[in-house]
Symmetry: D3
Subunit: 223 residues, 6 copies
């Protein structure tokens, strides 16, 4: 599943974050990458020890969790504290995939990765998020405040920034439904039911469909 989720951050949240990051301390991002991904990572990263990392991360995590589309499409069990990346000209993140398991106070199986865009597309050139797809990679560059949700297990990369600055928050989440095909099916059945509520479907049929929806969730949810 690759999904654009628009307006995750409210405009004042976005403004505050951008203002905080304007003067923040960034360090070499390789220090936080593990194993083979480390060699591919050529990007600055907000200092993890600083207050800004904590505050910006919390704002972004809260904004993601409250968004209805992320709730129903991703069914988050837990979200990692976001990392803030800064790509200056020449920086990039080569082809890699994200770790399936992240430890800490909570252990997370990373099912889905999220990139929240903090820069406007006009503020930089290059810096495309390229995600391996069915027939060709999907290339993404969303508006500041928007997020892209994608499978952590898909090979992806950020192409070199050729001018300007690309700021993003990235994070990972474990879904209550592990299997992508099952999660998609539950999401789409929920959408169908919402459509039918506006189409004169009978109460009896709607109750029956909700039973199907709920019982599929019971079969597949890992809480």
């Amino acid at each position: 599943m690759t999904l654009l989720i628009e307006r995750v951050l409210a405009s004042d949240e976005l403004a505050n974050i951008r203002s905080a990051l304007a003067t923040a301390q960034f360090v070499d991002g390789r220090d936080s990458a593990g194993g083979a991904a480390r060699e591919q990572k050529h990007v600055l990263q907000l200092d993890r020890a600083g207050d800004q990392q904590r505050d910006v991360g919390q704002t972004v995590a809260k904004a993601l969790l409250r968004h209805p589309k992320l709730q129903t499409a991703a069914l988050p069990k837990s979200v990692r504290h976001p990392t803030i990346n800064r790509y200056e000209p020449g920086m990039f993140y080569g082809p890699h995939l994200d770790a399936p398991l992240m430890r800490g106070s909570v252990t997370t199986r990373c099912d889905l990765s999220v990139t929240v865009f903090l820069s406007h597309p006009a503020e930089y050139e290059g810096g495309e998020l390229l995600i391996a797809g069915e027939r060709a990679p999907i290339s993404l560059k969303a508006a500041a405040g928007d997020a892209v949700l994608y499978d952590s297990g898909a090979v992806h990369q950020v192409t070199p920034v050729t001018s300007g600055i690309r700021l993003v928050a990235v994070t990972w989440l474990q879904s209550l439904i592990r299997d992508g095909a099952q999660r998609k099916l539950v999401f789409e059945l929920g959408e169908s039911i919402a459509q039918l509520e506006a189409q004169n479907a009978s109460a009896e049929t709607l109750l029956k469909l909700r039973a199907t929806h709920h019982n599929l969730m019971r079969m597949w949810l890992e809480s």
Copy 2:
């Protein structure tokens, strides 16, 4: 799942079968029961070597397979050749469950058992089919030509016939969807879609629901 399926046999089929069985040779049914079920079986059975067994069995099997409700509720992969049982006064089949595996030219995992009633309820007393249920056994005695479908793994019995003759055809089938909860869910989603086709649901929503229905079947069908 315990399901009554009405009018499996057409009235001429029923009449022909009853006429053929009136003069047929029945033998001790214990010979065909395996293991522990053998001690519980006190019933006559149509001689397996005779032509009537072959002809009556084929008529019943065909009638079951062509019935739309059996098709959608049971999703049969294969049906065993039916056995014809005759309960005379004093005869019964004590509590037992049916074998999970039957070998022969085809190997069948017996998911569902079927009793096709060949006698009218008024023709005998006693002879209730009792199936272990959630809170209390379900007691069944259906019209001649009707069938009852139930889980082969539920403990069941036929209580003693106290007067008259109880004729039934019994058989077993393997479903394309092994798990009863999954099979029920697919069946009910199909029913909901049929109801919506008569309720002004939009073509777009119906296509989406059919995709859900089809893809659930793909996840669960064993062909």
Copy 3:
């Protein structure tokens, strides 16, 4: 699985709860129902902000968790804080099913619903708990202090109370074994082993059966 669990509350616990509820503040229960269930809910509910809700809920939750039959039949992973409902004449809860997922400090997949009866059956008329069953709904009205455990995914309802007051505590639990058929099988194998311990079964066979029981639990438990 629909299961009656007798004497969940000790008589002094029941007396204390009834005494506390006699003077407690009840509010419109619709406020706590989500989505489609809301329209079906016509019942008063103990004010969630009050101390009585906390105390009565804790007494009921503890009593459920300590009951051996609930432990082995439901294998609870977590139990939600109970809700206290008061049905006055004319009140009812129409056909609905319970949400599969409840959020809060703990996220719960609601596998099983529990109704703990706080009124004696003679204290009210109507107010039957009707649960959709195999062939016909199961109708339940248990003694004060008893509980009924049933699948959260079964459509159920409470018929209108026609006289008197019906007080119940209702709650939901996530089981360590998600699938009802697997949970039932483990429960029944445990019962068989307990029976065999009183039947001269050999130590060697009992060790072997316990290995089967334990290893089935290992295959299916989600902790």
Copy 4:
């Protein structure tokens, strides 16, 4: 999985088929579509009763089954006899998905659909095969003799042909590995092993990787 498989038909096979179809009898294709797909189908179809249908179908089925890439990517358990479609100007096949189950002498769970192109792209305009994808539909128009393999459960369509004639053979297959994500993983591990055989990997490591590959297949193959 959407996969282009090049040169499925040898040039003489393609020539023979095109020559046979030049004079063959085509009929209204709606007769063979079931349920909702019927309304979407506006295309001619080779008469099923004719010899050409049998001969062309067999040639195409054999060509598919012998192709190494189809073998490893699709792991076919069985392939249906192909249908030959002819799109004349104005004809199209609106959005639909293919049935999950096809009966006949063999029962097939349709996991994957195949379109074998019999016309050269230059011979017609329009007639794109559009398959619903992650972010946007995938549009395909392959060379004569090539095939496209795609999930039967993806909504797909053929856009109207605006000039010329579009001839295709379409068929469906059941895979030995039902789940698309598992099938893809086994396919890619096989590709990795083939690459390593040319990269000085040690015999010991290759044996270990092959054990992983074989044992994954054992876990997932349904034969």
Copy 5:
């Protein structure tokens, strides 16, 4: 599962086979090995085109299928036609694992491998069957007429024969229960029930245990 099955072949069957093989034509066995196993195979093999291969193979296959222990421990769905191998001094089969999938008139997922010993242990030196095990390889050399059943996915080898002739029939089977841990659990529960039938267990408890056994089989059998 590594299991010795004694006396698979009756003494007259063994004698006939040994006599037939004494004058039979053997060819280089590498021709029938696929992929990487080919390099490890240094053994003669009974000519596949000859009558002896057909007759000996059928005798061995029938003997395996009729053996009660193989029936209950392996739950065979199908058995491949056996191959007859002859190891002369210096011959061996290096470390390899057997293919997960064998095609032909029947497609077989090879879950279990079987070696039927046709030579007496005293007739050759070396020629141990070594199967990778938990802590150390298991080394096996059984009596003529006995068989060893082992997981096809375990790396195994035959060490060089240093003197004499080692004749074996080898074959592969697909089990009705794919997963080895599930198959073992069903097998052991069946053994426990058989033991309890001789230990004064009550009919009620035995019925309950058989229900557990049958319903586990229903959950896991792939027919």
Copy 6:
């Protein structure tokens, strides 16, 4: 999986633990065994209420969790606080298996059992850890500071100590991958990848194999 993990405890940790245990209070171990295991347990156990139990347990648990081989082979989700057992001459623990579920502040599904040896093999005679295996029990007696990891569901025992003192810490852990065959496959694929990193495998192939490894973990991890 039965696995020896060497040097779990550093020499100073081992010395400190041995010194603390030399003067510690041990009690009858039967008090902590449940159900049928209780009768088999004839061993002393460090008093659970004492400080030494807490301190020694924490040292052992930390040492286990930091060991790379335990991390990759067992993929621990949680480890129980260890129990310290002291076998004096004549003491033993008869055949038993460990409980599948342990409650407390954390609920643990016991997938794997661990014995950490605190005595040198030369310090006692007898006291073998015997674990039921494929063909014969595995007998183990490791160096002080080493650990043995084994399936909690395998029947195991400690044979009588005939002289000297056998001190061990025993504990249980829940793995992030429940099924032993899946866990082993992920472990071995990780080992293969580590070997290939030293064998000139191409970066492209390594990325592809890591994707396979990560995505298998995503399919199977329960976090």
